[in-house]
């Protein structure tokens, strides 16, 4: 088992290192870029996209907050690409990869059980996923702790209107730009929940790819099937958002369980609901009956079912000779 773990680590360390560096740097740099702008100034631009708000996971106004802007990183193609590439490349390798290369026969001629092969491969792949998600969070953490936000402060005098509980601010001097710690408005702990959700997303994808690999004998076909599945799932998710009467499509897409933006909004507004399994909050932007932890656990449970199905198939199937 130890030897198999070492073998799988040796096979994957290059991809893992590249993706880890990329994710850490991306998350850190993205926060730095966010901090170079005053987000309020994007408000007129965002108004132009109001018609497309239904496709966004949260109200567009959240993107004008630092927490919301940072949370957007979890839906960025670069970040998802790294997680998807790791999950699909490692998952597809476990059985159909070895069979396709013809190396399974030499490997299984040794006194190794098929369960050991699946288990050690899964341990390395899941361990790698944990490393990648940790890099995302660490990049976010260092980004938040090392950057400051830009803020324009205009001195003003508040004038109270007689008989009305209203105060009107009147500018009383030149505006000045100041910088204050980003952690005041977007503490790093808010991003733990979406990072867990990202891990669950990757885990499910890894597990379903591994399952396909256990059923198949060609890696290229496994990758093709999973890419097709991914695209169909994404289209179903988009369809569920596009029209009211196609909303049911969302129940058939695992993308519905990946809601990092909404989670950050929930954590920000109701920190006590961060680890709810079933939602008990009526929060704007949180329209799901499952809580953040519930979504994450459901993805993990679906992944475990896929892993079990793949393992059962692999231990029972005939191994074709190399072609």
């Amino acid at each position: 088992m130890r030897l198999l773990l070492r073998k799988y680590l040796q096979e994957s360390w290059l991809l893992l290192s590249a993706c880890s560096v990329m994710l850490f740097a991306f998350c850190w740099m993205r926060i730095w870029i966010v901090c170079q702008f005053e987000l309020d100034k994007f408000a007129p631009m965002l108004k132009q996209f109001k018609a497309f708000e239904k496709f966004a996971p949260v109200p567009l106004e959240q993107f004008l907050t630092h927490a919301g802007s940072i949370a957007m990183a979890y839906n960025e193609p670069v970040l998802l690409l790294c997680i998807v590439v790791w999950s699909i490349s490692r998952g597809s390798d476990v059985v159909s990869g070895e069979l396709g290369r013809g190396t399974m026969e030499m490997l299984l001629a040794q006194p190794i059980t098929r369960t050991q092969i699946v288990l050690s491969h899964a341990l390395v792949a899941i361990g790698g996923l944990i490393v990648l998600c940790s890099c995302v969070w660490l990049g976010t953490y260092f980004g938040i702790t090392t950057n400051t936000r830009l803020e324009t402060i205009t001195p003003s005098i508040n004038i109270s209107l007689p008989l009305l509980p209203v105060e009107i601010p009147i500018p009383a001097g030149e505006s000045t730009q100041v910088r204050s710690p980003l952690s005041e408005v977007a503490p790093a702990k808010w991003f733990v929940v979406p990072t867990l959700n990202l891990f669950a997303f990757g885990f499910f994808l890894l597990a379903i790819t591994s399952m396909c690999s256990c059923f198949d004998r060609y890696r290229w076909r496994t990758i093709g099937v999973i890419m097709g599945f991914y695209v169909i799932q994404f289209l179903l998710f988009l369809l569920s958002k596009a029209l009211e009467f196609t909303g049911w499509c969302g129940y058939f897409s695992f993308f519905s369980l990946y809601q990092p933006d909404a989670m950050v909004q929930l954590v920000r507004n109701h920190p006590e609901g961060s680890y709810e399994v079933v939602s008990s909050f009526d929060v704007v932007g949180w329209e799901f009956w499952l809580g953040p932890l519930g979504m994450t656990l459901l993805l993990v449970a679906m992944g475990l079912i896929c892993y079990t199905a793949g393992w059962r198939r692999f231990v029972k199937r005939d191994l074709p000779a190399p072609v």
């Binding site: 290369r101 190396t103 191994l319």
Partner: protein, 314 residues
Amino acid sequence: MSRVVYPVSIRGLTKSYGNFHCLRGCDLEVPSDGVFGLLGPNGAGKSTLLRTLLGFLSITSGEASVCGYDVRRESLQVRRSTAYLPGDPRLYRTMTGKRLLRMFSNLHPSSTLKGCLRVADKLDLDLSRMVMFMSTGMRQKLALSVVLGCEAPLVMLDEPTANLDPNVRQTVLELIREVRDSGRTVMLSSHIFSDIDETCNRVAILRDGKIVTTQTMDSISHSYIVVARCNATESATPKLLRQAPQLENWHFRAPAFENGELELHFSGEPSAWLPWLGEQDLQVGRIEKAGVQALYQQYHSRSAGVATSDGKAL
């Protein structure tokens, strides 16, 4: 009384995919301390038999055990007792030869890096090279180093001399004989008659998934082929058969008669059947030792069938 544990014991082994039968009711017992040859044309079921014994393929019906371990239930112990060379060995392309030997020697409890290196050295293999930069023959040598460096009680070799030049082929056969001399058992599948002739002391022939005969090399070495011209007409040949002496494995090839020639197969000492041959109305052309090739051709020639002294078709 203790039961004899054969390195390989098979009873009624069948492997089918729907209506397609790869192995059909195979019965085989491989005795220890020797080299057992499996002969058969492509698709006869040699590799399938070996792969079934290792648990790569599930058994449709029948029973099989390796070193006393049930193939179905104790596959791990089976593979612990076996070193296996696949027919088309594929190795990890990004590893160097030495790293690969180290990995496989660590994976098998009966294997040592020292043993693998010794074999690689005998095969004159450059282990510093990555597998991806090795030629087909070098990869075969590397796989042989993995397998022959392992001291498991049973060694299964599927076409071990494929892709090797004549010199290396001789070295491999020598290594196989070394394994045999060390008291271990080798099961060798091959198309090459000389490989079987030079190493095996027992051979089984497969045809269409069936084991059609199992013979010792001793009995094969006492087989002779007599090619003779026959003055009798084709219709008179059964009479000739009936007059044949009571010898084992007496064969008569019917198609050969078309050219006025008979091919007679005899087993046993020539002194037993030569007098009878002299009495026949035959012009003896040549008498030669039969060997494995002749045995193989009895079962795999393109002819319609082979008649035997007892009048049955094979």
